[in-house]
């Protein structure tokens, strides 16, 4: 929709040119959320695409994703075959309510910075042990672990004006085995729960719980955890009121799915580990 309060679009040559942050400014990436609701507090949008950041870079270290990379581009990425967890890229790109047409414009960074519980780019980057490079307005760039970025429903660690520059997914995580579970109240709808497990050569388990909770929850287990281990760890990590509540899933349901999917993931990775 028209954002009728916007008076200016700024297209500076680089982020460093934006020195004075104030209320009323917002970074514009794909715009697919900004333009979907009235934004009465905003008067100026600063166009991130003006910076022309290369979208995706595959290297021996892993995958670097510019915050402005389009979700559709990530979905289509042809990744090295040794990245056993590579299919998660597409699985997560398609774990969104949004149409493929929205994914043509929506950015990976935008999905992360929205910090909705069901933000599947958060699920992806957290499960793959990603790190984010953040550019504060008047300080040196900093790095945060993906798991530490989102702090609640639509809340994160970004300071006013601070920019998510890029996401790094390490090769060490991309070469793990994985299991993926997601559920939504309608077909291909918004996630009520999205859980991902990864497992390294020693058969450990890294369980990432998203969508069902206000922010991602990550649980590390040693080799071959038992069902009871996983259940107890979830009990300990997520309080009864720690499950998200909205029309896309009642908290009790999200909790129920979390236990159910966690056990399915544990069993799947344990099973295939035994085969390997």
């Amino acid at each position: 929709m028209d954002i009728n309060t916007i008076r200016h679009i700024e297209r500076p040559p680089s982020a460093a040119d934006v020195t004075h942050w104030r209320e009323g400014l917002a970074w514009l990436s794909g715009g697919t959320w900004l333009f979907s609701e009235p934004q009465p507090a905003l008067d100026t949008l600063i166009d991130l695409r003006a910076f022309d950041w290369p979208a995706l870079a595959v290297s021996a270290d892993g995958l670097d994703i510019a915050a402005t990379a389009r979700i559709a581009d990530l979905d289509k990425l042809v990744f090295p075959k040794e990245w056993t967890a590579g299919p998660l890229l597409s699985l997560c790109c398609r774990a969104l309510l949004m149409s493929f047409k929205i994914a043509h414009e929506a950015s990976v960074g935008g999905n992360i910075c929205m910090s909705l519980p069901a933000g599947a780019m958060i699920s992806l980057s957290t499960a793959l042990e990603g790190t984010y490079t953040l550019w504060p307005r008047d300080a040196e760039p900093r790095t945060v672990a993906a798991i530490d970025f989102v702090t609640g429903n639509r809340a994160n660690v970004l300071a006013p004006g601070e920019l998510l520059r890029s996401i790094h997914l390490p090769a060490s995580a991309l070469t793990k085995r994985f299991a993926f579970r997601r559920s939504s109240l309608t077909h291909l709808g918004r996630s009520a729960a999205l859980l991902i497990g990864t497992s390294g050569p020693d058969g450990d388990l890294l369980l990432t719980i998203t969508a069902s909770t206000f922010h991602p929850v990550q649980l590390r287990f040693g080799p071959s955890p038992s069902a009871v281990d996983v259940r107890r760890a979830i009990d300990a990590a997520i309080p009864q009121d720690g499950y998200f509540d909205d029309v896309n899933g009642l908290p009790a349901y999200r909790r129920h799915l979390t236990y159910h999917f966690a056990e399915e993931i544990r069993a799947e990775l344990a099973g295939s580990g035994a085969v390997a």
Partner: protein
């Protein structure tokens, strides 16, 4: 900035925050539609450099220097794109409002994407078709048949506006350029119940571009109802255009008129309103308590918040329950839902060169809107013209006057043209909904299944205003109680004011709600008696030899013009046993079950309903038909031409038609309550018959022969080997002073009845609560099919709308009456991914009451859907889910441990 749109290059500077959608429409590219303006519905889909995007979400400046293709630029000259042609061949639209975006999306899909339609079409919502005909278009299915003179009735003829729809040139309500236009926006209440102490308009008036602010002090202090009916007395006069008391979150507080939408919005934000908050009540049972705050003091306050109480009894249910071998009793509850017609409410009003007021609006009842506007503003009827062009869906939502009044108010104040278009959020918080009803059912039966007593108690929540309240309540006590034969029946209903968004007309209109309850209860009773659900229904269902009776013993004007319920039952039973189905998903946690439900619906409302038509033979031998009824995707324009053509021995193409226009067509109450065929269609049939009589009697007179010798055939009158073309006849006759015209009116009495039976086979996951529809079969007894393709389309749409009610749609409120999900991304109407293919069958009946054998069919198919789903869940799990909707999170806890 340089733009290229559909091959036209130009320079323009969009506003900073402007999206591509409005940038295109500002340049007259009206083919690009607004369904939600939030990226959820896909109606605004265009291509940018060949890639489909939602133009409502793209900043306009980003399209600069790129190639933009809209639906209007998809065809190469006169050669349609294959997808456009496929949409025409399959008639993959009803109202056609979603078609532009749907076509632009489908036309962009590659082979791989076409192989996964649920995923790739989930971003395009259609509320009319149920996606069946769209799927047909993708598969290259041709649904249309040839238009043969004399053979129009019963043929699957295409919508005459189809070419305009698929090319983006069909004009919907807002698709009009108006010079000197002003824009209206309203501030809505954030309180559920409050008195407005003051409204300071100073800051708002200071916003550049703001022209006027209207508050309750600026409107005629006349009470009325936004609901439209022929009989104005059936709806309470409980509403002011703007009021000093707000009774629900979302009620209009003040209106701002400005030079731009942006200024009008800014003006609304700048209004300073002081409220005195009043106690609020949301639950109808609590609202009936003596201590509840009373919402209205307009004459009915002696009854507190109970707006209407309706009851009746035939026989004695006390006696019937005493005679019963088994009694089943339970409370069933249906949810509030929104119509989600893709075109939101909207009106454009202006004063014409003729000095009169012209109101172009998105309405199912332009003639009643005309009457209401005349009343509210003290106008002379002849001063006012109300009309529709194409209306983008209704489903009962536009059986209201919601936007016309303030537009006329603003026009009268400034003299300038004015436009007001609802946002999608306003559709949820400021329009109408299906009445939430809770129904307690008590059934008594003998061991053999014979019913000895049926008793229901219905409590309906009408929200803050009472439009449609008593009529929907009466409907809930009528047809569904008539569907079963039983000597002892009793029903009591209460409809109650609360501080919720108002209820309104909605396809199925009260009957849907109690049908859900009764059909679930019959299934529960079948289980209790260990009788097959088909057998229990067959033992008790009304037959053609029965007296049609709900709970009132006085005679009614409802009669069997035909009867096909028995056929419908057989068709569904057979299809469930033998028809195509998807296999149950793999895994031991999936449980499978089947369920059925039947529904009976009177063809038309018990209140007065009338229509009229005028026909004329044109100089070229074709015909002109003017009929008052509205076309909003229901197909009446197509079927009315077919009825007329059938009578006149012509092709449907030979009938020009104009409708829904208070200047150009005779009075019509409105297209609602399933009257498009049985009342307006009756008017068309009577008029065509009169014109036929006019023509044949004239030719008989001038040829000095008998009228019986002549027939009309393909643009001529024929008698033996004598053949006179209609053009020649008209020329001769007109020269001699003969007038080839006819006008007739139709009323609705008697009323026939239609039947629908639905069967569902589903699988439910006992851990996650996920539901997969494996088979969906429907049989309808709607008399002769005027247009079989359209009948299937309407039924497909009804089924999927019913499925949405049962499975996906949920208006979610906090405890202060604020809706938490007033957007399509969170209020989920079924998408392609949610919609099963439906097998649709018809009873072979010919109605003796409806026109040319037809019965009403726009509404009735929705009624058995939700109970069939509940019954299938019950069959699969042994658990009765009695409260809509059955989203996985609301059913999973009762499935744990089920085997």
């Amino acid at each position: 900035m340089n733009y290229s749109i559909d091959g036209h290059s130009f320079s323009a500077e969009p506003r900073a925050g402007q999206c591509l959608r409005t940038f295109l429409r500002d340049r007259g590219v009206f083919g690009v539609k607004k369904g939600c303006d939030q990226g959820d519905c896909g109606a605004c889909t265009v291509w940018v450099d060949g890639s489909p995007i939602h133009s409502c979400l793209m900043p306009a400046f980003r399209a600069a220097g790129r190639e933009v293709t809209t639906i209007q630029g998809l065809a190469k000259g006169n050669e349609l794109h294959p997808t456009q042609q496929a949409f025409l061949d399959a008639q993959a639209f009803q109202c056609g409002y979603c078609s532009a975006g749907m076509i632009m999306t489908i036309a962009s899909l590659d082979e791989e994407q076409l192989a996964d339609l649920p995923r790739n079409l989930k971003g395009n919502l259609c509320r009319c078709t149920g996606y069946g005909a769209i799927h047909d278009a993708i598969n290259g299915v041709v649904n249309v048949s040839e238009d043969v003179a004399g053979g129009a009735c019963g043929a699957s003829l295409p919508n005459p506006f189809g070419p305009g729809i698929v090319t983006g040139h069909a004009r919907y309500t807002m698709d009009l350029e108006v010079a000197d236009l002003t824009y209206l926006k309203v501030l809505r209440s954030s309180h559920p119940h409050a008195r407005i102490v003051s409204i300071d308009r100073t800051a708002a008036m200071a916003v550049p571009g703001v022209l006027e602010v209207f508050t309750w002090e600026d409107v005629p202090r006349r009470l009325y109802s936004t609901a439209t009916h022929e009989d104005h007395l059936v709806d309470p006069d409980d509403t002011y255009i703007l009021d000093d008391v707000v009774r629900f979150v979302g009620q209009k507080v003040a209106a701002v008129l400005a030079e731009t939408e942006a200024a009008a919005e800014a003006g609304c934000r700048a209004l300073v309103v002081e409220y005195e908050q009043l106690p609020a009540v949301f639950d109808p049972e609590l609202a009936m308590a003596p201590e509840a705050p009373v919402l209205h003091r307009k004459g009915g306050e002696a009854h507190g918040n109970v707006f209407a109480e309706i009851g009746g009894e035939v026989g004695s249910v006390a006696k019937g329950f005493a005679e019963a071998d088994a009694i089943h009793e339970r409370t069933y509850s249906t949810s509030r839902v929104q119509h989600v017609h893709l075109e939101t409410h909207g009106t454009i009003a202006w004063r014409g060169a003729d000095g009169r007021i012209h109101v172009r609006t998105s309405s199912q009842a332009p003639f009643i809107a005309h009457e209401k506007l005349v009343y509210l503003f003290g106008l002379r009827p002849s001063e006012l013209h109300v009309f529709t062009e194409r209306v983008g869906g209704g489903f009962g939502g536009k059986q209201e006057m919601l936007t016309e009044d303030l537009c006329v108010l603003a026009l009268l104040k400034t003299g300038r043209p004015v436009k007001w278009e609802f946002t999608r959020e306003e559709q949820f918080i400021g329009a109408s909904t299906r009445h939430q009803m809770t129904t307690h059912v008590k059934l008594g039966a003998k061991f053999d299944g014979t019913l000895t007593a049926i008793q229901i108690r219905v409590v309906s929540n009408t929200g803050a205003y009472g439009g449609h309240a008593s009529e929907t309540l009466a409907a809930s006590l009528a047809s569904p109680m008539s569907a079963y034969r039983c000597v002892n029946k009793r029903a009591n209903g209460y409809v109650v004011y609360t501080n919720m968004v108002p209820g309104g007309g909605f396809r199925g209109y009260g009957a849907s709600q109690s049908t859900f309850a009764i059909e679930c209860a019959m299934d529960d009773l079948a289980k209790l008696l260990k009788i097959d659900p088909f057998a229990l229904r067959r033992r008790n269902m009304v037959t053609a030899d029965d007296w049609i009776e709900a709970v009132w013993s006085e005679a009614s004007d409802v009669d069997f013009g035909s009867y096909g319920l028995d056929q419908c039952m057989d068709l569904v039973e057979n299809a469930l046993a033998t028809g195509e189905r998807r296999p149950k998903p793999e895994g031991e946690n999936w449980l499978e079950g089947t369920g059925i439900a039947l529904a009976m619906l009177e063809s038309g409302p018990p209140t007065e309903h009338r229509s009229g038509a005028v026909m004329e033979l044109l100089p070229d031998g074709r015909f002109h038909l003017a009929v008052g009824s509205t076309e909003m995707g229901n197909g009446s324009v197509t079927s009315h031409r077919q009825l007329a053509a059938s009578v006149l021995g012509s092709r449907a193409e030979d009938i020009d038609i104009i409708n829904a226009d208070t200047d150009k067509a005779p009075f019509d109450t409105g297209t609602f309550a399933s009257t498009g065929t049985v009342v307006a269609g009756q008017a068309v049939t009577l008029t065509a018959t009169a014109l036929r009589q006019n023509i044949l009697s004239y030719v008989a007179r001038i040829t000095q022969s008998k009228i019986e010798d002549w027939k009309m055939e393909g643009g001529a009158v024929v008698s033996g080997d004598q053949r006179i073309s209609l053009a020649e006849l008209r020329a001769t006759g007109t020269a001699a002073g003969h007038r080839f015209q006819a006008k007739r009116k139709a009323y609705l009495s008697p009323r026939t009845v239609a039947f629908n039976v639905h069967g569902i086979r589903l699988a439910v996951h006992r851990v996650t609560g996920d539901i997969e529809i494996l088979q969906s079969v429907h049989a309808a007894d709607i008399g002769r099919l005027i247009n079989p393709m359209q009948c299937r389309g309407q039924i497909n749409g009804s089924i999927i709308m019913g499925l949405g009610w049962a499975l996906t749609e949920h208006m979610d409120y906090d405890d202060t009456g604020h809706m938490k999900n007033a957007a399509l991304r969170n209020y989920r109407i079924p998408s392609f991914a949610d919609a099963p293919r439906n097998e649709i069958m018809f009873a072979d009946t010919y109605d003796t009451i409806g026109p040319l054998g037809a019965k009403a069919q726009g509404e009735c198919a929705i009624n058995p859907i939700a109970p069939a789903i509940s019954n299938a869940l019950f069959n699969a799990t042994g658990v009765r889910f009695a409260t809509l909707p059955f989203t996985p999170d609301r059913i999973f806890d009762r499935l744990q441990g089920v085997s």
